[in-house]
């Protein structure tokens, strides 16, 4: 506790010296990390540079066309409103739910800890569809009920998902799960003794939460807020599907429209998205600043002791409420639509049929896509988890990585989030199909793309977990004679398992739900389930969308199971 420096170094494989006289200077260690930074730069930055280079090629033209885009100011404003709004919803609700979870009676803890994550498993297309069945102004089931009870008048309303509020709440609800996952993993890991100390000082539970628990959760909060903010800035599906009737456009939908036709105006797309990039980098810098002194967030004490917090059934109310809103209702609507011949505005069990399921399932594409998705997921997890672990270690202040290396690693670790995915897909395509990579059509390209996409999600949970455990456990391991690799495997991984679990789960969800980039990087014979769903959304029927959405949910669940195994199984609660 008296010190904060951790001498984490690159794995032993990189150091042939085995005698005790082996020399290792900090500069040499710095080089290992610099190498890591370079690899990441190639991986992540290259496509972005390639994309922005196309913009720079045609800078005056692009700026001219940018100026011509109608209502450009409004698009940026809407983007901002939606981003800020949904981030606020997500952070407040996610944190609140995570706190409620700590107060849930032990018996119910396990079930309750998993349920709020379910909304994340639903593809956003599915959530949006589900909600549009419930809250379309005319035919939304809830609206019909509300009108039946005399709330609202006429044959439309009172509620409307196809509105700014709808988009914010919808996106906020989906993102809530993100925040919940981060914060709750980090709450689970915390040293409860520190809360006991606050109680012993006379602080009420609420006050304890605000003054002790929450500040110690700061890394998790900051990281999840940053990620959620970037996601909210770049979100696509929800505004695309819900924004059209109210003519709400955000940057990513505008970019999508720009890129929808031949010839694709990359320059304009890049120019449109540039402010996102700038804001994204700003968010990353702010986040670094907010966590300047990581010693302050070591919440897992080495002299710890379990504390049984007081529990209450009331804690179930918000959690169950969230479940109903985010899962039960839309999922229920989705299931019933998947069983109906078509969406008729009514749920009528007498018309239920399994036809949609059989037709989707009998399509050989479906099975192929599921297999491909799981395979790609597995490869991605195998690559991204170790890589992101290294990145997280490099980002720890106590690791003596030179600042000139750490800053780029930090920015690189998040920057892929600052690009609309539709553009990223193009960027990957023309970067990796050209020399020196020429990966087009190979599995490597798929993995590289997924790794780039998911690394921001894999790094942050591990980073906040690593911050919370402090240096002392790995120090104790090293003193016991274990090298960096042994320490990582036997001490650090198990201790940050909740963070690893979150990382793996997030990667799974991202990969399983991804379609925009997948379309571009997969070969035609290898489709993923996300692109099938996208196809069906654009060309197919509502029940088929519902069926595919539910299938995707199932695939995600399988993926989560896989990642659970990779991240080391269910030993989290032992800590």
């Amino acid at each position: 506790m008296t010190s904060t420096q951790e001498q984490t170094r690159t794995p032993d494989a990189t150091t042939p010296t085995a005698r005790p006289t082996g020399r290792r200077s900090p500069t040499a260690a710095g080089w290992h990390w610099a190498l890591l930074a370079l690899v990441m730069a190639a991986l992540i930055l290259w496509p972005l540079v390639a994309l922005e280079a196309r913009m720079v090629d045609d800078l005056p033209g692009a700026l001219g066309r940018l100026a011509e885009v109608p209502d450009l100011g409004r698009t940026y404003l809407d983007t901002l409103i939606i981003a800020v709004g949904s981030t606020a919803v997500a952070v407040v609700a996610g944190t609140g739910l995570a706190w409620c979870l700590t107060r849930v009676p032990k018996r119910l803890y396990k079930a309750m800890s998993l349920l709020p994550i379910v909304p994340l498993l639903m593809p956003s297309v599915a959530s949006v569809q589900g909600w549009s069945y419930l809250l379309s102004p005319r035919t939304g089931i809830l609206n019909q009920y509300l009108r039946g009870w005399g709330i609202g008048s006429g044959d439309s309303g009172p509620l409307d998902v196809y509105s700014m509020t709808g988009i914010i709440l919808m996106a906020g609800t989906i993102l809530t799960s993100f925040v919940f996952m981060f914060v709750s993993a980090s709450l689970r890991q915390r040293g409860a003794e520190l809360e006991a100390a606050a109680a012993a000082c006379g602080a009420s539970p609420g006050r304890t939460f605000l003054t002790v628990t929450l500040p110690m959760m700061r890394p998790a909060l900051v990281y999840s807020t940053a990620i959620v903010a970037l996601l909210a800035l770049g979100q696509f599906t929800v505004p695309l599907l819900l924004g059209t009737p109210d003519r709400i456009d955000v940057v990513s939908t505008a970019v999508y429209k720009v890129s929808a036709d031949y010839p694709v105006d990359y320059a304009l797309g890049g120019a449109l998205a540039l402010p996102l990039l700038v804001v994204g980098i700003a968010v990353i810098l702010v986040q670094r600043r907010a966590l300047r002194d990581e010693r302050r967030y070591v919440s897992v004490s080495a002299r710890s002791r379990q504390v049984g917090l007081t529990t209450s059934r009331w804690a179930l109310v918000p959690i169950l409420g969230y479940l109903v809103v985010a899962v039960v209702l839309p999922l229920g609507a989705l299931v019933s639509v998947s069983l109906s011949p078509f969406w008729s505005g009514r749920i009528d069990p007498s018309t239920f049929t399994l036809d949609n399921w059989t037709s989707v399932w009998s399509n050989s594409n479906t099975v192929d896509a599921i297999v491909t998705t799981l395979f790609a997921l597995l490869l991605t997890l195998v690559v991204v988890l170790p890589l992101s672990y290294l990145v997280s270690v490099a980002l720890l202040q106590r690791t003596r990585v030179p600042g000139v290396v750490r800053l780029p690693i930090d920015i690189l670790g998040s920057i892929a989030l600052c690009m609309p995915v539709s553009l990223l897909g193009f960027a990957f395509l023309f970067t990796y199909s050209e020399p020196p990579f020429q990966l087009y059509g190979t599995t490597a390209m798929v993995v590289v793309a997924y790794v780039t996409l998911t690394i921001p999600f894999a790094v942050r949970p591990q980073l906040s977990a690593l911050t919370a455990i402090g240096p002392e456990y790995s120090e104790a391991s090293r003193v016991s004679g274990a090298g960096s690799l042994g320490t990582a495997l036997r001490v650090t991984f198990p201790l940050i398992r909740s963070g690893l679990g979150v990382a793996a789960a997030l990667v799974t969800i991202i990969v399983a739900h991804e379609f925009t980039v997948s379309l571009m990087v997969t070969s035609p014979t290898r489709r993923v389930i996300g692109s099938l769903l996208y196809d069906e959304t654009v060309n197919g029927s509502a029940p088929n969308v519902a069926v595919l959405s539910l299938l995707m949910l199932a695939v995600t669940l399988v993926g989560i199971a896989i990642s659970w195994v990779i991240a080391g199984g269910n030993t989290v609660d032992k800590i």
Partner: protein, 339 residues
């Protein structure tokens, strides 16, 4: 009636010499043909018809939006990687710009059925294989509630009863759709009609599929820019919807081509030839959802639902003229408040 597709129609390979037969044999050896498509009509029935005709050659279909599709084609045309063999697209500009990497159809069908067709371009390097007629969909129940205003012409879309009950796909960013509205607006009565349409506060949709869904559920009573196939499929499942062909027909193109870097060049030729033959035309257009560019008479026995592109009908080409461009940005987007 779609069952009539295939069956008794002429053998697509009829008239091909031994050279063509060699191509067919090679194609069977290749065993696979990859189709990139951004257009309508390539559905399960279509794939089933192909499988029946060439059980030895697997048809792999990949669907993309125009931008993605053309970017992918651009990426593929340089390097020797697995990719598309044939394409059916609606993006004429790309085809024009890439004539040099397309391969003309070598099969017998082109000469036999398309000899004098105006829909063959670049010496057969690409061919308009079908036209997608777009029209209105109506929800009969909802329309009854509104007092059953007639919906048969473009002008009918402007009926004041439809205020708040009309859905449209404005087609922002998709030139073919914008062109469609350009011509439709002309039929509605020119530029002032756009204002009238806007006054009805139509509900906007991104793609025809979602509009059709909402039409079936009754969220809107009338939808414009609908695809017949989609509406018909819903009606077949019992939805209270009908497709209304608005006259004159305005349709979007489905163009087919063989690409020069095909990994399965022979299968690609066989596919293209099949598509251009009566068998393929019936598979694609037999249900009447799409219109065939050929004379029905020339095709032999065809399903009763099949239709040709009517004379004088507009097939938009997805290339906005300067005049159309101005109309889209200054009038259409402005009135509809589209960004």
């Amino acid at each position: 009636a779609p069952a009539a597709a295939g069956g008794s129609v002429a053998d697509p390979n009829e008239g091909g010499g031994p050279a063509w037969q060699a191509v067919v044999d090679a194609a069977n050896k290749e065993g696979q043909v990859v189709l990139y498509s951004n257009s309508d009509g390539v559905n399960a029935e279509f794939e089933a018809a192909w499988a029946k005709a060439y059980p030895g050659i697997e048809l792999v279909v990949s669907k993309y939006a125009s931008g993605e599709l053309t970017t992918k084609l651009d990426a593929e045309k340089g390097g020797g990687v697995a990719g598309a063999d044939v394409i059916t697209v609606s993006t004429k500009p790309w085809l024009e710009a890439n004539l040099n990497v397309l391969v003309a159809s070598t099969g017998p069908a082109l000469g036999k059925y398309w000899g004098d067709s105006s829909y063959v371009y670049g010496d057969g390097k690409y061919v308009l294989a079908a036209a997608t007629p777009l029209g209105a969909g109506i929800n009969t129940e909802q329309l009854a509630k509104l007092g059953n205003p007639p919906v048969t012409t473009y002008k009918d879309l402007l009926a004041p009863q439809l205020k708040g009950a009309l859905g449209i796909v404005p087609g922002t960013g998709a030139p073919a759709a914008e062109q469609w509205w350009f011509y439709a607006a002309k039929e509605m009565g020119g530029d002032p009609a756009v204002g009238q349409l806007a006054d009805l506060q139509p509900r906007l949709y991104t793609v025809p599929a979602t509009l059709a869904t909402d039409l079936a559920s009754g969220e809107v009573a009338v939808g414009a820019y609908n695809i017949k196939g989609t509406i018909d499929a819903l009606a077949a499942k019992g939805a209270p919807v009908e497709f209304v062909t608005l006259e004159p027909v305005i349709s979007t193109p489905v163009t087919a081509a063989v690409v020069g870097w095909a990994k399965n060049p022979n299968a690609a030729q066989v596919f293209q030839n099949w598509l251009l033959s009566p068998a393929g035309q019936i598979a694609l257009n037999g249900s009447g959802s799409l219109l065939t560019p050929l004379d029905l008479a020339a095709l032999g026995e065809v399903p009763t639902t099949m239709r040709s592109i009517p004379a004088g009908a507009t097939v938009v080409d997805g290339v906005l003229t300067p005049e159309q461009k101005t109309w889209v940005t200054d009038l259409w987007n402005a009135k509809m408040r589209l960004g």
